[in-house]
């Protein structure tokens, strides 16, 4: 490959990604602007919240149960060996509430709900349903994208509270039944060593931010899918990959700032 070739390709791909970012920002701004420029569809929002909860609860439950269990069992094994069995409840609580609960909920919702929203909108795009909406002077931004975005921002904290509980208590279950630990000791160490920020930061700060990332990226990528059936598959993969990357990166900075 010759030099100008590399330069051109690099230039094109930088230009491409910049233009995608610009369009993403514009899309997201357009969605948010509906909050005051358009009628807010509360019914659509509730429908979406219900759908998101229904889609996510079973796999959030299963995922966090096993995450809590594997974490508690590994920690218990090592901590009991060095005589630190008393603080296992706090360690599990720390990990789950601060990081594992919010993060794994984000991953699961990205894969389940993010992909579903993106392919739903992509399918509407390639079958001209989005154009049909616009031709009727009905904005997809206020009717489709905004309700999904808001529903995700509201549902993520709720799902994280649920995930945290499942993770923490499945850890307790392992601690008691596999390692013959004491439930009171588990609870007490968590109560004494965790402060309230440890518990609510994941829910109150990370939840809505992750919901925003999932909702805005899923609707953006779905709406910008190119025609053809392969476009729908592309939108699902692209959505999940970009949401996961964004969530992991943003999570690092959030944790760094908050704690």
């Amino acid at each position: 490959m010759t030099r100008p070739d590399i330069a051109t390709r690099l230039g094109t791909s930088i230009f491409d990604s910049l233009s995608w970012m610009g369009r993403y920002a514009l899309h997201t701004w357009e969605v948010i602007r509906c909050l005051w420029s358009q009628k807010i569809r509360f019914r659509h929002i509730f429908e979406q919240m219900y759908k998101i909860g229904l889609l996510s609860l079973p796999i959030v439950f299963t995922t966090l149960m096993f995450v809590g269990m594997v974490f508690a069992s590994q920690v218990s094994k090592e901590f009991i060996k060095v005589g630190a069995g008393k603080i296992i409840g706090a360690i599990v609580g720390f990990a789950i509430w601060r990081e594992l609960g919010p993060l794994f909920t984000g991953v699961v919702v990205a894969a389940r709900v993010g992909a579903a929203i993106s392919t739903e909108i992509a399918a509407m795009k390639v079958t001209e349903q989005l154009d049909a909406l616009r031709s009727m002077a009905i904005s997809p931004f206020s009717n489709l994208y905004l309700p999904r975005l808001i529903a995700l921002i509201l549902m993520m904290p709720i799902l994280i509270v649920f995930a945290d509980g499942v993770g923490f208590f499945s850890g307790m279950f392992i601690y008691k039944f596999l390692f013959h630990g004491n439930i009171n000791a588990y609870m007490n160490s968590a109560l004494h060593l965790l402060n309230s920020l440890d518990i609510y930061a994941g829910v109150v700060y990370k939840g809505p931010v992750f919901g925003f990332i999932i909702g805005s990226l899923a609707t953006f990528i779905g709406a910008n899918t190119k025609a053809g059936a392969s476009g729908i598959g592309w939108s699902a993969t692209t959505t999940v990959v970009s949401i996961l990357l964004t969530i992991f990166i943003v999570n690092f900075f959030l944790s760094y700032i908050i704690f």
């Binding site: 001209e128 049909a132 031709s135």
Partner: protein, 243 residues
């Protein structure tokens, strides 16, 4: 009135429309013909402001679409009803909800009144029993007819039909052609029909325009088009391969 002046449209540098000039007067029925891929659907999409054009101008009732915001475009779009080539029914909604949507969004009619109107419209296209069905439960031709009902439900001033009779049996096709004529007469609507179907060309048009090489070409009216003096038009309507 739809006024199209020197309209250019390109996709990724590939020109599709290269200086189209069309004037469609109020209350007239215009048919657009042209070979597959020549840009007929594109032209309809541009008239609705669904995509920006490269240059030139489209005016709807003297309002230029160029540089209009989406909100301003929505005001203009309220004048239109459109049947998409792919029907484009909302597949998460029932047939009834599909047709009712425009009225629910843009009028203050009660649910009862809307339902009556929707059933009337379904009656017109002979699909009374499909009210509670989902689009996925319909055949292609049934979808076309639902799309037709959905387009006319709000009595729009301008109706755009992208191949409304393609894929319909000859009798249903005639029904739709008659409906295009009666609906147009009833509300004095302006109609633009894109079609390949000879019966539709002959029954529903007052003026026929052929898109050829990215430009619009006037042809003889429906009475004489089958014997057109223009060899391109003659070959097209008679389905003759170039000799």
């Amino acid at each position: 009135m739809i006024d199209i002046e020197n309209l250019f449209k390109e996709y990724n540098g590939q020109p599709v429309l290269k200086g189209v000039n069309i004037r469609i007067k109020e209350g007239r029925k215009t048919t657009i013909i042209g070979s597959s891929g020549c840009g007929k659907s594109t032209l309809l999409r541009l008239i609705l402001g669904l995509e920006p054009y490269t240059s030139g101008e489209i005016r709807i009732d003297d309002q230029p679409l160029h540089r209009m915001s989406e909100t301003q475009l929505n005001q203009v779009r309220l004048k239109f009803g459109m049947v998409f080539q792919s029907s484009a029914l909302f597949d998460s909604m029932t047939v009834g909800e599909n047709i009712a949507l425009v009225l629910k969004e843009h009028t203050k009619l009660t649910d009862g009144v809307i339902k009556t109107k929707v059933l009337e419209a379904l009656n017109l296209v002979e699909l009374r029993d499909t009210y509670y069905l989902l689009p996925s439960e319909l055949s292609g031709g049934m979808k076309k007819r639902v799309a037709f009902a959905r387009a006319i439900i709000g009595d729009p001033k301008i109706l755009l039909f992208d191949e409304p009779t393609t894929g319909l049996d000859p009798i249903t096709s005639t029904t739709i052609e008659d409906l295009i004529n009666t609906v147009t007469q009833k509300v004095g609507a302006t109609t633009v029909v894109v079609t390949h179907q000879i019966s539709t060309i002959l029954r529903t048009s007052e003026k026929i325009i052929m898109i050829q090489d990215g430009t619009a070409m006037k042809t003889e009216g429906p009475k004489k088009i089958m014997k057109s003096k223009n060899p391109l038009v003659y070959r097209f309507v008679n389905g003759l391969v170039e000799v």
